[in-house]
Structures are given as structure tokens and as C-alpha cells.
Amino acid sequence: MTYIPHTDVERQQMLAAIGVTTIEDLFEAVPSTHRFPKLDLPAGVSEMEIAAEMLALSEANDHAQDFAIFRGAGAYHHFIPSALNHILLRGEFYTAYTPYQPEVSQGTLQATFEYQSMMCALTGMDAANASHYDGGTSLAEAVTVALEVSRHKRKKIVLSHAIHPQYRAVVRTYHQGNGVEITGDEGMASLAELTDLIDDNTALVAVAYPNFFGQIEDFSELVEKAHAAGALVAFVINPIALGLLKTPGSLGADIVVGEAQPLGIPLGFGGPYLGFFGVRKEYVRRIAGRIVGETTDKNGKRAYVMTLRPREQDIRREKATSNICTNQGLMALAAAIYLSLMGKHGLRKVAELCYHKAHYAADRIDALEGFDVDRSKPFFHEFVVKCPLPVAKINRALIDKGIIGGYDLSQDYPELENHMLVCVTEMNSKEEIDALVEALSEVNVQ
């Protein structure tokens, strides 16, 4: 089957129109030794054969459904209502690429506007953009906003070590070479020690809520000192947790970022995910990304458009708020559908289930000989367990029992040898949790 619509007659007509005899003539500029290289590809196969080959390849992987999953660390296993995919996978949504012309994209623009609005309600921010690639990129953009707000007079960025290690790495990659000092996460600083780093050269202080270890901390003193010093405060959040916790807006955040994958997006082997970005009103002109706005057309009817466009690089060039001028449209739509299906009460219910199941699991694991749960701070649905053996060893034993154990914290924090970050969501039944506890008790015996 050919996929190119031109007939041979049409090809000849086009070639004649430009004064060329054959299509090969168009490649004269390429040196003859490189012009038509031999590709040595295998012979083409039928659809039936290729389908069988792909199926065999895919079965080399295990699926999330085959395991009891107790790992989070930035990618969370939550239930996706089937209604979500029925809406998301509609051709009009699924196949459209950057559908932003208001004349033909009112549906997508409205959905994006709803996404932005719902995320503002969830976080207590005044404005949100149409999303970024993922949580790490959003945090990097928060740094950009803070530097911009200080008119590049302030060069210090204070990051809590309890922000996802990969997000902090992305911030460093993003801002390398621009003279910015990124500090605060070199060790395991306490909140008080982190707060001490804030001075009038600080453009931004960023903390995580809940943090990478699942903990919920009181940032009031940090926020007060940051604002007194003229620095902005960014909260890195988990949107499911916000079904239960106070909004970052009410706690003094100027910028809220995070990974919105838990909102109806599957684990998907690491992506595509969804970077959330929200700000207080006074910073909306500084933020990167697409923004959808609501307006009226010339007949006075409500309409949706991309707005605040001059910030973007196609207009502002090197003075644009960012080099990124795209978003995760389909993922933002998934999040909007998820939030609509769940509603305020549904989201709270999910959060409560996560919270209570995690606390049940923590209690049972803590009671095990050799295992110690860190209860120094309140936690949401993740908690740190000090284990009697290296986490990698424990996890190998757990996998054989159909359990994906918690995240090995020693990978990112050398001080946390043998420490596991366990996550429990609404997807983990009591039976699964009890099976995990039993498996852990057996592992210690070895």
C-alpha cells in the first residue's frame, strides 16, 4: 500500500513545471558518493507478520497490572476511570497538533482553559499556563521567572534537598552557564538551615509539598523570611495530595509547579507526563508556555484564545520568557477530564484512601523486626523505611512475589543507605499491603 497521494502523471507535471527531468535530478547538490546510500534493510514484511513480531517484543516487558506496586518517587499508580479514555482518545483531541487557532479549535482551547482554571483552584494560584513537559521542566521555568522578576540582579537559587533529585538535576542542566548559584541541596539540610541560606541575593526558594520523602512540612517561617528578603517562593506539589492539604497559595507560595501525572495519566514507562505551572497574578506576564484566555468575539459571544502571546519566542526572540513554546496538550486534557470526573469530593476521597492505606502500611511495617518507619514528620502517601538489608536486595526478593517494592533512596542520598521510600495509593488493596508486610518479614529472615 502506498501512502503518498501523488500519481505518476502528477509527478511528471510537477517536474516539468520546475524544469527538471527526474526526481533524482533534485539531489544533484548532494555529493554522488553520498547521494543514494545503500541502507541494507531487511525485506518488507506483511502487516500480519509485523504484528506478531511487535507482540512478541512487547511481551518481553512486564505490565503494571501484573504487580502490586509500592513505588512512587515522582510517578504514581492511580486508577484511571475508563470514561477518561473514551473522551481523550476521540480523534478530534487525539490527533490534533498544537490546535490553537481560535477559529477552528474552540473545543481544545476551552478544555485547556478549564485545565488551567481547575489547577488554579487546586493550588490557590491566580493563573496557570497550558502546561510544560514534566515536573522537572516546570521547576526549571520557575527559576527562570524568579531570575526575570529580579531583573537578573539576584543570582542565588535555594533548593530544598527534599525536592525530587531529578527535578533538581533538570534545573541545573537548564540553567548551566547563566551565572546562577544553585544551593541548599548539597546535604540533608533542615528547614531552619535552608532558611538561613536566604539573603537579598536570593531570587527563589523552592520546597516540595509533600516532599520527596512523602513528608508534609511547615514552611511558614521559610516563606516569611523569603518574602522579607524579596525572594520568591516556589512549591513543588503532588496534585492528589492537594485533595487533602491546604493550598500552596494559602501558605504564601508565589509559584506552584509539579508533576500532574497522577491526574489520569498512566505510568507509561516514564512519560508522557505533565508539568504544571501556576503563579500569582502579578507574575503572569513573566511565565513561559502557552496560556489560554477567555474573551468575547465581535458578536459578544464567549470565545477562547491563546493569550499573552508576545512573551513567546516567535515574537520576543532572545528576550522571550523561555525557549519553550509548546505544552503537553493531550496530557493537560487528560488531567482536566480526570478532575472533572472526580470532582472536588472524588479527589478528596482518592487522597483520603491514599493517606489511610499508607498509614496502615506504615504501622504494619514499623511493627516488623528490623524495619523502622520515619515518623518524625507527618506524611501523605509515601514514607521512609530504614531496612535491615540493602533495598536492592529486598526488592529482588519482592519482585519474585509479584511485588514492586519501594524506591531505593541510597541512589540519590548517600546518607540513606538501606532506606526505602514506600508509596501506597488507592490501587493497593488491604490484601496487597498485608502480602507486602508478609514478604518483608520473610526477607529479613534470610
Partner: protein, 131 residues
């Protein structure tokens, strides 16, 4: 094409800012040509009083529906006053660019910085090929 206006008592920069000098205080705004090119101004970002501005360097931004442009200092000095009215009603820059649409006042610290500014006639001629 709109009839553009360049008052004769003002001086003009190549980057389309105008200056009204009274003693050592320079009142600064953008010219009729600039506001006409920009179209509807929706937002203007201005420095704070006390900010040092250097000739040729950006001191703020003016944003319209189609573009966001830097405002470049036509003189060197310190900002003494900022037009709050224009922050709340940026459309004044379009409707009244030389009077109510003024942007900042600067106490000039380097009088030589005004030497290369054009007068009304020179600026009109400068704009001919740009229309």
C-alpha cells in the same frame, strides 16, 4: 495612513523614544510613530524611582497585542518619577503619547548623552523609509 506627529520642542532617539528637557529633568515617552507601529498597547513595565538608567540600555517594556518591545533610555541619569496613570491605562500611550502618555522622568547625570538625539524634522526624515 495616519498623519504622524512629532512636536518640535522635543528630541527623538533612533529607537523612537522622545525627550522633553526642562533644566536637568528629562521627561521621556515613545513617539507617535512607535505607538502607531505597536498598535493597541496593553501593558507597560516601568522601572522604580531611583533606578539608574544608561543611554541606549533598556529601562522597561511596552507590550501591545502583537509585540513586546524594549524601552531604551535616550539619556543617562536617575529615575525621579514614574507615570502611574500609564500603568493603569496603557492605552494613553496610543491616544496621547506626548502628554498624558509620558513614561518616566530622569535627572540627567550626563548631559552629553543627549547630543545625538534628533530634532523633529530630522526624526520625520529618519522615519520616511520606515513607513
Amino acid at each position: 495612513m495616519a498623519q504622524l506627529n512629532y512636536p518640535s520642542d522635543l528630541k527623538y532617539a533612533r529607537t523612537d523614544e522622545w525627550v522633553r528637557l526642562e533644566g536637568d529633568i528629562a521627561t521621556i515617552g515613545i513617539s507617535d510613530f512607535a505607538q502607531d507601529q505597536l498598535n493597541d498597547v496593553v501593558f507597560v513595565e516601568l522601572p522604580e524611582v531611583g533606578t539608574e538608567v544608561k543611554k541606549g540600555e533598556p529601562f522597561g517594556t511596552v507590550e501591545s497585542v502583537k509585540a513586546a518591545s524594549d524601552l531604551n533610555a535616550p539619556v543617562t541619569g536617575t529615575v525621579t518619577e514614574v507615570n502611574d496613570a500609564v500603568r493603569d491605562n496603557p492605552e494613553l500611550i496610543n491616544s496621547d503619547p506626548y502628554e498624558r502618555g509620558w513614561l518616566i522622568k530622569v535627572k540627567v547625570s550626563d548631559p552629553d548623552s543627549l547630543n545625538d538625539l534628533m530634532d523633529s524634522a530630522a526624526y520625520a526624515k529618519y522615519n520616511e523609509p520606515r513607513m
